[in-house]
């Protein structure tokens, strides 16, 4: 393949215009492709992070009272008792916020009562009852769950100490530099102590774009959100049916309230990642289009080169070139054009990657992607030039004697 490059190159250098244009196209394609693929990969990784939750089997139901005599806490007790009685419901809890939804509550805690703001660790908390762990589908790594008698009644002023809390490993590490937090004490902003009774393996909280999305605490308290909201975990495959059943039953069982929504938890995760997903789809589309246009450019150049050289090819065949030699000639010529483009494209890709990483605080372009991009464009070039090269090889040697 790489023998006899010199005469191919000198012929190419005497007909530069088309080659330069296609080379530039290849360079731009490489720069865009490599960075786009890299960004898409990051988005995909972001979207694919484990939530720690049993997302596929959880739904959220929210209801709000609209009459004077509506008793939200009595309603909550009835609703949860009914939900828990369903054979396909594994667990149900009231909650103050929906994980992965972009909305929730946060506060700061520390390992000493009089912590400075630097020593305070930010975290995201969910008010749940003794069914909380099971309803979220999270795994307890150490310690224990809340007992029913530990669940505090609702307190709208949130002005009291919380005796127990369950936290994630990530939060434990930020607080204590170790996962082993059971029995340790943390302090709220007023210096009131709380004992860690359990550690969750992993759980994502409310804000997926927050770098501390896994700093989560479960608090044993009846949720005091403005509306009643329940997290319900069903047995696999039954969620849709249970959602329908729950909506119907709860709407009828208590006429002092309205069901505001019943939604699978996936809805919130998808909504939170919507812009990431759109960005990825956009970049993939652009990349595919650009690769297609580049392939077309290479194909057009190769086709043109073959067409203007019918007699030359006939002559080469007449003086002894085999068909394979002709195919090789055009593939080598095309390879030289793509390679020139690829070399320039590497520089462009690195420059673009550097700019992107500075402007959008992305990690720097990984060189594996550049290598992959170079290989991809080489292959694209060979594939695009293959058909014209094969066509050239079919030119009859008798073209050499034809007088036009």
């Amino acid at each position: 393949m790489f023998r006899d490059i010199r005469p191919v190159l000198s012929a190419l250098l005497r007909n530069r215009t088309g080659a330069v244009l296609v080379g530039l196209q290849v360079a731009i394609a490489l720069a865009v492709l490599v960075n786009a693929v890299y960004i898409v990969k990051q988005r995909v990784d972001l979207i694919g992070r484990p939530t720690g939750l049993d997302v596929g089997n959880i739904f959220v139901l929210s209801s709000a009272g609209f009459t004077q005599d509506h008793d939200r806490y009595a309603t909550m007790r009835e609703d949860l008792a009914w939900l828990r009685s369903l054979p396909d419901v594994r667990a149900a809890t009231s909650t103050n916020a929906i994980p992965l939804s972009g909305g929730g509550s946060s506060t700061g805690i520390a390992t000493t009562p009089e912590a400075s703001s630097e020593q305070t660790v930010p975290m995201n908390y969910f008010q749940v009852d003794e069914d909380g762990l099971e309803a979220l589908g999270v795994t307890l790594a150490a310690g224990r769950n809340f007992r029913a008698d530990e669940i505090l009644p609702p307190d709208l002023n949130s002005d009291r100490a919380i005796p127990q809390v369950i936290i994630t490993k990530a939060l434990a590490r930020s607080l204590f530099r170790t996962d082993d937090a059971v029995g340790k004490v943390v302090y709220d902003a007023f210096g009131r102590p709380t004992t860690v009774i359990g550690v969750i393996e992993h759980m994502q909280g409310s804000w997926l774009s927050w770098d501390k999305v896994d700093h989560v605490a479960l608090v044993p308290e009846v949720a005091s959100w403005s509306d009643n909201a329940y997290l319900v975990r069903t047995r696999p495959g039954t969620r849709a049916a249970v959602m329908r059943q729950a909506e119907e039953h709860l709407a009828a069982s208590n006429t002092t309230r309205l069901i505001k929504f019943v939604r699978p938890l996936d809805y919130y995760r998808d909504r939170s990642y919507l812009s990431d997903r759109n960005m990825a789809v956009f970049l993939v589309t652009v990349t595919v289009l650009l690769a297609g246009v580049t392939a077309l450019g290479i194909f057009a150049l190769a086709t043109f080169n073959v067409n203007v050289r019918t007699r030359q090819v006939g002559t080469r065949r007449a003086v002894g070139a085999r068909r394979a030699d002709i195919v090789r000639y055009f593939l080598v010529e095309n390879w030289l054009v793509t390679t020139a483009g690829v070399v320039l494209g590497c520089a462009l890709a690195l420059a673009a990657g550097y700019q992107l990483s500075r402007q959008f605080e992305l990690p720097r372009l990984d060189l594996y992607y550049l290598t992959g991009g170079v290989l991809a464009l080489w292959l694209l070039g060979l594939a695009a030039a293959w058909q014209p090269a094969r066509r050239a090889a079919k030119i009859s040697p008798s073209m050499a004697t034809r007088t036009i």
């Binding site: 006899d4 005469p7 000198s10 012929a11 190419l12 005497r14 007909n15 007699r311 030359q312 006939g314 002559t315 080469r316 065949r317 007449a318 003086v319 002894g320 070139a321 085999r322 068909r323 394979a324 030699d325 009859s396 040697p397 008798s398 050499a400 004697t401 007088t403």
Partner: protein
């Protein structure tokens, strides 16, 4: 050296069949210089294409230097062309983007010859045609006669047994045509068999033997001198 027996070649298009060669038989001995003449469209180029393995034939038998051509693959035919045959074309067919040296190099590279040997052969071929000093000029920087001499250098650099030329002087004025003819005679004297297709009776007369093709067939085997008078008479009639 070259033996064709009852060769036929038919070109078929959607509408017509052209019998370019019919029952065509011709023998050329080693070292001969044969001129092929004939009216336009009579099949001279077709004959040369078949003889030079540029084209296949439909029926008949063809032995080139003792090798039966009919059973050969495309690659084997390429190899035979490369090693045994040199071509000279009416419109020179030099590669415009390669300099003179690289043009002469083309068939040698297809023979996978080592670089040093190629260089030496190119130098001596260019020497024979008197263009050694122009080795790094482009074809477009040479006159037509010079370009044809480069093409001759390309044809002989591989030291072929056969030289096939189709109207090699057709695009040249008479002075340059004579120079090219001198060169061909010189090459023939060194032992290369030459088959020359030409319209020019004056050039044809310089060949050892003259063959006329009419309507895809050899019309005459006699040497040119013996048939000169009737042929001229026919042309004038």
């Amino acid at each position: 050296m070259l033996a064709m027996r009852h060769i036929s070649k038919v070109f078929r298009t959607d509408l017509i069949e052209t019998h370019a060669l019919r029952d065509f038989s011709l023998g050329v001995d080693a070292g001969e210089f044969v001129a092929v003449t004939g009216p336009s469209g009579s099949g001279k180029t077709t004959f040369l294409n078949v003889a030079g393995l540029l084209e296949t034939f439909d029926t008949g038998a063809y032995l080139l230097d003792g090798v039966d051509i009919s059973g050969l693959s495309d690659d084997e035919r390429s190899r035979l062309r490369n090693e045994k045959i040199g071509f000279i074309f009416q419109s020179f067919n030099l590669i415009p983007d390669l300099d003179i040296f690289d043009n002469v190099d083309v068939p040698l590279r297809y023979r996978r010859m080592p670089a040093a040997e190629r260089r030496q052969r190119i130098d001596s071929a260019l020497d024979i045609v008197g263009l050694k000093s122009r080795a790094h000029h482009l074809p477009s920087q040479l006159s037509g006669g010079q370009q044809q001499r480069v093409a001759i250098a390309r044809a002989i650099a591989g030291d072929p047994k056969f030289l096939l030329a189709d109207e090699p002087t057709g695009n040249l004025d008479s002075l340059m045509a004579r120079q090219v003819m001198d060169l061909l005679e010189q090459i023939n004297e060194m032992g290369t068999t030459i088959v020359l297709v030409t319209h020019d009776p004056e050039l044809a007369r310089r060949a050892q033997r003259n063959v006329q093709v009419v309507d895809g067939q050899i019309s005459d085997y006699r040497p040119f001198a013996a048939q000169a008078a009737p042929a001229m008479a026919g042309a004038l009639a």
